[in-house]
């Protein structure tokens, strides 16, 4: 039964996690994501789950590693400085091939920065701040609805690939309240978890590790991981097009910036300017092929981000060589308003 709800993004995400069967939440408080642990602290007990306010972000991510190795769906959430502390754990999760969902409600930085919305963690999420040759899937919601829906998907993709998945949202998406349709969870078809460590009685012992010292072992492991990231690129790339048909200028934007861009595009269309939107939903794998295809037809692109220029590098790598890629950055403070983006797009139209 589909039901309309009116709720804030952080709560939509937490509801999605419980619906997806997440029963272990470990985290440490930080604004602007505190609604998430607050919600779990009340709700986990009702589903016989476990909520622990850990002593630090380092502890949280390693608790997830343990719960995940035992076969449970587990998650943590934090905001930017907290994610920095978790990078070692993310590298170990990726190296050990363990599923996990890690939420970043991006605040501004560097350092302690501020609590306003930002997209300054694009590089950290898509390139990984941890060591080693690894990738994490990165999902970028743009509405309260997607805070919920992409959380359901995140748990499935984490299990599908045995890999951590990052949900990269920001302070606006976490804190706005919006209407949402409460859809039932329809899980993907997933492989059995025949690798978990939950007692070895009656079977051969299993090993989960990220340390590979034997001759050739590390090399094989890295190529295996590489093949997994290639498979993500083949099977799980997502994006949204908006008014891109007959557009002469395409805005490339994700998350909060993308929905402000949608309003700017409506204003532009009202003035007769043919502008459309390309919105990556997966930031890794980046929708490079769809963007390349679009650039066969449209030759002018404007990347808009709430930072001073990060995703624009992926846009430039994706488009055809004869396409122009411009950039407009809105550094954190208050989020951009549609009129500001309208002025920006007029400058390159």
């Amino acid at each position: 039964m589909e039901k309309r709800l009116f709720l804030r993004g952080n709560h939509a995400l937490a509801i999605g996690a419980i619906k997806a069967g997440c029963r272990f939440y470990f985290g440490y408080p930080i604004t602007p994501q505190n609604d998430i642990p607050e919600f779990f602290s009340k709700q986990m007990v009702k589903v016989e789950g476990c909520f622990i306010q850990a002593e630090s972000e380092v502890a949280s991510i390693n608790m997830i590693l343990g719960a995940s190795a035992a076969g449970a769906r587990a998650m943590t959430s934090s905001s930017s400085p907290g994610l920095s502390l978790m990078q070692e754990g993310l590298s170990y999760l990726a190296g050990s091939e363990l599923p996990a969902v890690v939420v970043n409600i991006n605040r501004s930085g560097p350092g302690l920065g501020g609590i306003s919305a930002s997209q300054g963690d694009y590089f950290q999420a898509t390139r990984g701040g941890g060591h080693g040759d690894y990738r994490t899937l990165v999902l970028a919601p743009s509405s309260v609805q997607e805070m919920h829906d992409l959380t359901l998907l995140a748990f499935d993709l984490a299990d599908k690939y045995r890999n951590p998945v990052i949900i990269l949202a920001d302070a606006v998406l976490g804190q706005i309240q919006e209407t949402m349709v409460d859809r039932p969870y329809q899980p993907l078809e997933l492989p059995p978890k025949d690798w978990i460590l939950a007692g070895a009685s009656g079977r051969d012992p299993r090993l989960i590790k990220s340390l590979y010292l034997k001759e050739g072992e590390m090399e094989r492991h890295n190529w295996k991981l590489f093949e997994k990231y290639q498979r993500m690129k083949r099977e799980d790339v997502r994006h949204e097009n908006y008014l891109e048909e007959e557009a002469e200028l395409i805005i490339v934007s994700f998350g909060t910036a993308a929905r402000v861009a949608k309003s700017a595009i409506r204003l532009a269309r009202a003035e007769g300017l043919k502008v459309g939107l390309f919105r990556p939903i997966t930031l890794f794998p980046f929708p490079e092929k769809a963007l390349f295809d679009l650039s066969q037809r449209v030759k002018r692109f404007l990347t808009i981000e709430m930072n001073t220029g990060q995703m624009v590098e992926d846009v430039k790598l994706s488009v055809a060589r004869d396409a122009d890629v411009h950039f407009y950055g809105h550094a954190p403070g208050s989020p951009p308003a549609p009129e500001e983006l309208l002025n920006a797009l007029k400058k390159v139209y």
């Binding site: 706005i176 309240q177 919006e178 929905r259 402000v260 949608k262 700017a264």
Partner: protein
């Protein structure tokens, strides 16, 4: 239908409460709505603003630079948002704290409501915010007054439900004041 409202005042005046009340009412009328609280590290006494966008279509930006309507609950808010209201837009002033003569613009529809004094006639200063939102809905009709009152029980925790009648009465008082006043 599409309507953007910025509400602004001082922490403690109940700005977030009336913002989420209006948004909840719009939700109950099956409209699309976004409610964006803008509070940072402020607490009582600091700036408190929120933005509500109500639409029958998909809502793009939840962030608004120039709203159609603005509710101004305190003097600093007038300086911040007064100049940003769209030409021809609606400005609702809490004249208990803001002198309408300070508004320089001539291109706005302005309504002044002495919310504090009205709330005092009901015996509770803290109902000023409900007086204001009652007046706002009476003038703009973005939702119906009945839905607004019905939304009260949705946004207050149950242990505050004994306060619902007083809040509903304040909404009615505000609406009544707006009905009986002439635009300046």
């Amino acid at each position: 239908m599409y309507h953007e409202i910025i509400m602004s005042g001082v922490g403690g005046q109940g700005i977030m409460v009336i913002g989420s009340l209006l948004a909840q009412a719009a939700f109950m009328e099956n409209l699309n709505v976004t409610y964006t609280p803008i509070y940072g590290v402020e607490k009582r006494g600091g700036h408190a603003d929120c933005t509500v966008v109500i639409s029958s279509e998909e809502i793009g930006s939840p962030i608004v630079d120039s709203p159609q309507s603005c509710i101004i609950m305190s003097r600093p808010s007038l300086g911040k948002y007064g100049p940003r209201v769209k030409p021809g837009g609606f400005l609702l002033l809490n004249s208990s704290f803001v002198d309408p003569l300070e508004v320089r613009r001539k291109d706005l529809d302005i309504l002044s409501v002495p919310a504090l004094e009205i709330a005092q006639t009901l015996g509770n200063d803290r109902l000023s915010n409900m007086v204001i939102i009652g007046a706002f809905v009476e003038k703009t009709r973005v939702v119906s007054l009945d839905t607004l009152a019905a939304a009260l029980s949705q946004i207050f925790e149950e242990h505050y439900h004994h306060l619902l009648p007083a809040n509903a009465a304040a909404i009615s008082k505000g609406a009544e004041y707006a009905r009986n006043s002439f635009h300046q």
